[in-house]
Subunit: 334 residues, 2 copies
DNA sequence: TCTTGCAGTTACATCGTTGCAGAAATATCG
DNA sequence: CGATATTTCTGCAACGATGTAACTGCAAGA
């Protein structure tokens, strides 16, 4: 059996509550008493039982992180950073993979996962604002990376539209005129896909070009999605001189397929992505992309969530934070 | 305040304990009573308080996963799979990043992290067998991916040596004679690095070649480590016609640097890696590597750990499981 | 001298659940 | 039919911590 506070109290010759008071930095304790207790703790190797503490206090000091798939590089890198930031503030992160299904996202928002955590970092992919509002519960919730344009919620996001505009403009500025865009999601206007598509279209307009639906290809936001999309494009005979993958894995999958088919990158087709995952720098050719401020997102989202949990920064309304972005011009689209 | 078992008991008109019995599938309950309880649960939307249950039962139904860095693709992909397998068996996974330091690994093995979990999946990188033995504690522990050759511990690993031998032999079979190996760790004989190096050297020997220390380069097991290592090799003027990265990220970083320097892959230098992360398939050229049976490792390690936790498969001694491997011959080393 | 006030400590209840032991109701048997 | 099993259900204690309230000294003030 593990050492309990009772054991500590007994060996220190004080009451259970005094031990508790020492551990919780209660003000009025005689230094001598405090020392006795600390000695007993050291002697017995006592460690507080977190479960008991949680039951009593109602706090778990865990943050929930809901995302579709931890094996996706962007999410893996984000999760890693979030965990580090949380750790610095004395919290752990419990990850839940939703596979982007409605059912799983609702479960994460309502069910036992919620119980285990003091607050949630939530990437809504299948749910809309009203779903989230209904299932929100009473614990703090910070939305991540998606633009659910709703002042009810805290949101930490990136400049999807501006960044997509900027990188598309970069492609156009280098003389490209037929920029295919991969990873479009039909009907989506407020998700990452919709917002990035908007930036893409705005950049076309700004350059005096029309949007050609043939150049927008739906696909999974994964490497094989990008590869499949390029296969479709090439096989359909649509002409294009640049590719904008709505995230890096799509762009990398696309680039791979282009090179396999003997298309020269960037000479014949330039390729750009979005996210600046570590892999982008080391691809061959290295991938031009946009860094959406992941460090800032990690810092601010965890900071905001913990502030909410601890009752600081008690704004009634949702905060909307947008991280800055930077273009990373590399060899795939110089 | 959330609905408790007491509320359910009151509305169902039974005792607290009967509700508990229903929830725990106690045998002797009249169907009618059971139905009353279930109805009350549904009506009130009751959900068991996991913290209270944990305090009482001493079980958290969480598995701990200790690894160095979740943003490393191999670990991200492994963690994702482990979480899925655990989820199917009703467990969650709590991840702890150790940054491969002794201090953090010991903390994960002993401290509060251990308390939060019913058992640990542990990737020892800084700790040796005796450290682990000292810090083991009384909860189940399954070592992952490392060969700590110690019958005291459960271990799920891969055929590091055989697989490294096989892939080195593949390079040699294609006529390469000067195979640089990147990611060596001095002194290591039992870690992933040591075991893969052993396979490499055995393959050289089998082909009648001597081991040339100039061809073994130390580096971090990351993309930039591989790139740096190649820079060193090229700048030092050592001749080589193939590169074996001790993991895929090293190999990919190396390949990137080779291509940047104008070295043709695979014509001038063949490149092979280890792990078969998803990225390998989509690199350009696609990366020849070895798939170390990640699915099998995930299934068996979680299975073994949960069996230990639940007291099945009660072998006293440690189990040593080795997943099978497969070569994936791709364009970087055909 | 007797309050009054505060520092320092304590006992007890409580968080929501499950294990244990036993009570009540029903079934089985000679 | 009474005695003994067996089924069904209940009350109490416990898991290990913290909040509340109350108690004990001791110093200051009246």
């Amino acid at each position: 059996m593990a050492v309990t506070m009772n054991d500590v109290a007994r060996t220190a010759g004080v009451s259970l509550k005094t031990v508790s008071n020492v551990l919780n930095d209660y003000e009025f304790i005689r230094p001598a008493t405090k020392q006795k207790v600390l000695d007993a703790i050291a002697a017995l190797g006592y460690e507080a039982n977190l479960t008991a503490r949680s039951l009593r206090s109602g706090k778990t000091r865990m943050l929930g992180l809901v995302l579709s798939d931890l094996s996706a590089p962007y999410y893996a890198e984000l999760a890693s950073r979030l965990m580090k930031v949380a750790s610095d503030r004395g919290y752990r992160v419990l990850v839940e993979q939703s596979a982007a299904t409605r059912e799983n996202e609702l479960a994460a928002l309502q069910g036992q996962f919620r119980q285990l955590t003091d607050g949630l970092l939530f990437t809504p992919l299948a749910l809309g604002p009203d779903d989230v509002a209904v299932a929100q519960g009473d614990k703090p919730l910070v939305l991540l990376g998606e633009h659910i344009a709703d002042p009810r919620f805290d949101l930490v996001t990136m400049k999807n539209t501006e960044a997509a505009h900027a990188i598309t403009s970069h492609l156009l500025a280098s003389g490209r005129r037929r920029v295919a865009v991969l990873g479009a999601v039909p009907e989506d206007t407020t998700g990452s896909s919709g917002l990035r598509m908007l930036g893409y279209r705005q950049a076309l307009t700004a350059a005096g070009l029309d949007f050609d639906p043939d150049l927008a290809v739906m696909c999974d936001w994964r490497r094989d999605g990008g590869a499949t999309a390029i296969r479709q494009l090439l096989d359909s005979g649509v002409q294009f001189d640049a590719v904008f993958g709505l995230n890096d894995t799509v762009a990398l999958g696309a680039m791979h397929e282009l090179l396999m088919r003997g298309v020269k990158v960037p000479d014949e087709v330039a390729v750009a992505g979005f996210d600046d995952i570590d892999e982008a720098r080391f691809a061959s050719p290295s991938l031009t992309t946009v860094a959406p401020g992941m460090d800032e997102i990690a810092e601010r989202s965890v900071g905001l969530l913990i502030d909410r949990i601890e009752g600081n920064g008690a704004t009634a309304n949702g905060m909307q934070l947008e991280a800055g972005f930077e273009l990373r011009i590399r060899d795939s689209a110089p």
